[in-house]
């Protein structure tokens, strides 16, 4: 356990040092990412105003709060992508990672976790500017802050597991971008990334309860900006833990089979 903690701290340090070297590029990247929520925000704020100040139960200020927190959650949700898996298998980079006495996914989780700590600091001034422009309604309790902080890391782990599983398809075939795109389409609708889940038709909301997507987007945002009771907050976090545990189990099973397929083509 101590060795893993040491490894995580060392990897996170490497990631932070690397990101600091490119802090300006990172900032521009984050600014670019804000375009998507700002479009959603402008559209929904306009609709809310046209409908007498509210749409789907959200006021303009509630939408602003949702999409400003969205920007942080979205950044926390950036993980090693299936395209990255495709690249590292094709280029032979995975061979070097497999020679280490530590699972490559630990390397991914640790590296991106280091990156996230930089992202959180870079996000604060952006959130301040967005708040100044869009005037969000924030009514936040301490318990919400605590669960939100845990939930963004839970979301990060769930999405890492999901995209790793998707990426591992490349052990069997190296051209899987069509499957990736299908996945991202489903995620867009069923996660709360496009619109808050409560605005979606009841059958979509019902379906999303049985899938992992909403626990990576909608739940962490709602934990902070929604009106959840403490029980709802902790049971939501419990659902995240459940998805992480079952996902890890499944990942291990698939990995055992996938690694036998590895042909180390790229080197």
């Amino acid at each position: 356990m101590r060795r893993y903690i040491d490894f995580y701290l060392a990897s996170m340090k490497i990631a932070i040092l690397g990101q600091i070297q490119y802090s300006v590029a990172n900032y521009f990247y984050m600014i670019g990412m804000i375009t998507e929520p700002v479009i959603y925000l402008v559209v929904w704020t306009t609709i809310a105003k046209q409908q007498g100040g509210m749409a789907g139960g959200y006021t303009a200020g509630a939408f602003a709060a949702y999409y400003i927190i969205w920007t942080l959650v979205r950044n926390m949700n950036i993980v090693f992508t299936p395209y990255g898996w495709e690249w590292r298998i094709r280029e032979g980079q995975l061979s070097m990672e497999l020679m280490r006495p530590i699972h490559p996914i630990h390397g991914d989780v640790a590296y991106f976790a280091g990156w996230k700590t930089v992202v959180i600091f870079l996000w604060l001034p952006l959130a301040a500017i967005l708040s100044w422009i869009f005037k969000p309604d924030f009514d936040i309790r301490w318990m919400e802050v605590i669960v939100f902080f845990l939930a963004i890391w839970g979301a990060y782990l769930i999405r890492t597991i999901l995209l790793s599983l998707l990426g591992m398809i490349t052990f069997w075939t190296t051209r899987v971008s069509a499957i990736f795109e299908l996945y991202f389409g489903l995620e867009l609708i069923l996660s709360g990334r496009l619109v808050p889940m409560t605005i979606m038709p009841p059958w979509v909301q019902n379906l999303s309860n049985y899938l992992p997507f909403k626990w990576t987007f909608f739940f962490p945002i709602e934990a902070l900006v929604g009106n959840m009771t403490d029980i709802q907050l902790w049971s939501g976090f419990g659902m995240q833990v459940l998805w992480i545990a079952s996902g890890t189990l499944f990942l291990n099973l698939i990995w055992k089979s996938a690694i036998k397929q590895y042909s180390a083509v790229g080197g």
Binding site: R3, F7, S11, S95, M96, L98, M99, R100, P101
Partner: protein, 327 residues
């Protein structure tokens, strides 16, 4: 003594999809896909004793890298048994991975943007090396490879040779007992190649490590390996001392003759390979070497005469050529 590496009847076959060119064949292959079996490694056996440095030779596609990948646990063999340090590599146990290293001349594992000194710290954490031991090994290696002025520069700012030296340090910080080196000097200049060879030799002597090396540079093999294994088309062609390879596969010697009169025709003494001013190189059947040498010295005025074995590159080349011809 128990061998460090033991390979018995190892085969690694790949099923590769195959089709003819053109649209029609492409459409047909959607419904009726044909496969061909490629025997990358086919029924090879060898064992390597602790502390040996063995050269693993063969042309491109011979199966060298595939064998190294099986030995390092990256690939599952199709059949056969492999044992390294008492471990079955395919199980990829962490205890096993902590005792081996695979260095590939064309692969990097150090962070491109950071100075190597930071990446070495990550290697320490990965292998759980005690801090004092890590610092001592790191500093020793930095001194041996003369890297003191470079370890604080980002890797991207280093030359290819400097990067390779850093990669080797990074790969050996955990002091592996077995090294798999796949073309560690590829693309490097002569000085850098020599420096890396000396380091590998020093590491082998200091830590008693077993080394299996592939290289297309015969200078690497001659400098480091007493024993070589030659494979071609996945089969073992030769396994023994490098000097025996020359004896077995070379029936010629090379004579270098320097004459005061460069115009003299020497073709009656042997096959003239090169003529560089007054210096002529002749290829002579090994059995006739003494006689030809005596004749040259008695018939002509000779300023200088040398007798050498055929260069190892030519011997290896003749091994592969003879197998192609007998196929």
């Amino acid at each position: 003594m128990t061998p460090t590496i033991s390979v018995s009847k190892l085969s690694k076959h790949y099923k590769v999809p195959e089709r003819e060119g053109g649209m029609k064949a492409a459409v047909i292959s959607l419904f009726n896909r044909k496969y061909r079996t490629v025997k990358a490694v086919d029924d090879i056996s060898f064992s390597i004793e602790p502390g040996e440095i063995v050269g693993f030779l063969g042309p491109n596609g011979a199966g060298k890298t595939t064998t190294l990948k099986v030995l390092s646990g990256l690939l599952h063999p199709t059949s056969g048994a492999v044992n390294v340090l008492g471990y079955e590599p395919t199980k990829r146990s962490h205890d096993y991975l902590r005792q081996v290293a695979l260095v590939m001349g064309n692969r990097n594992q150090l962070s491109w943007d950071l100075p190597a000194i930071d990446s070495f710290e990550l290697q320490r954490a990965i292998y759980g090396i005690p801090v004092l031991e890590f610092k001592k090994t790191r500093d020793d290696f930095i001194d041996l490879l003369e890297l003191k002025d470079l370890v604080n520069k980002p890797i991207r700012n280093l030359s290819l040779g400097e990067r390779m030296k850093m990669e080797i340090v990074g790969a050996l910080l955990h002091r592996p007992k077995v090294l798999f080196l796949d073309e560690p000097t590829i693309g490097l200049d002569v000085t850098m190649q020599r420096r890396i060879r000396a380091f590998i030799k020093e590491y082998n002597q200091r830590w008693g490590a077993t080394v299996l090396l592939t290289s297309h540079y015969m200078a690497d093999v001659e400098a480091l390996c007493k024993r070589v294994i030659v494979i071609h088309h996945g089969h073992t062609l030769f396994d023994g001392e490098l000097s025996s390879l020359v004896t077995q596969f070379s029936s010629f010697k090379t004579l270098g003759v320097t004459l005061p009169n460069p115009e003299v025709d020497l073709s009656q003494y042997g096959e003239v390979l090169t003529r560089d001013g007054a210096r002529v190189t002749l290829r002579v059947a090994k059995a006739k070497t003494s006689q030809v040498t005596a004749n040259l010295l008695s018939d002509l005025q000779v300023d200088d005469l040398t007798v050498e074995d055929t260069p190892i590159d030519d011997v290896i080349d003749s091994v592969f050529t003879s197998t192609e011809e007998t196929k």
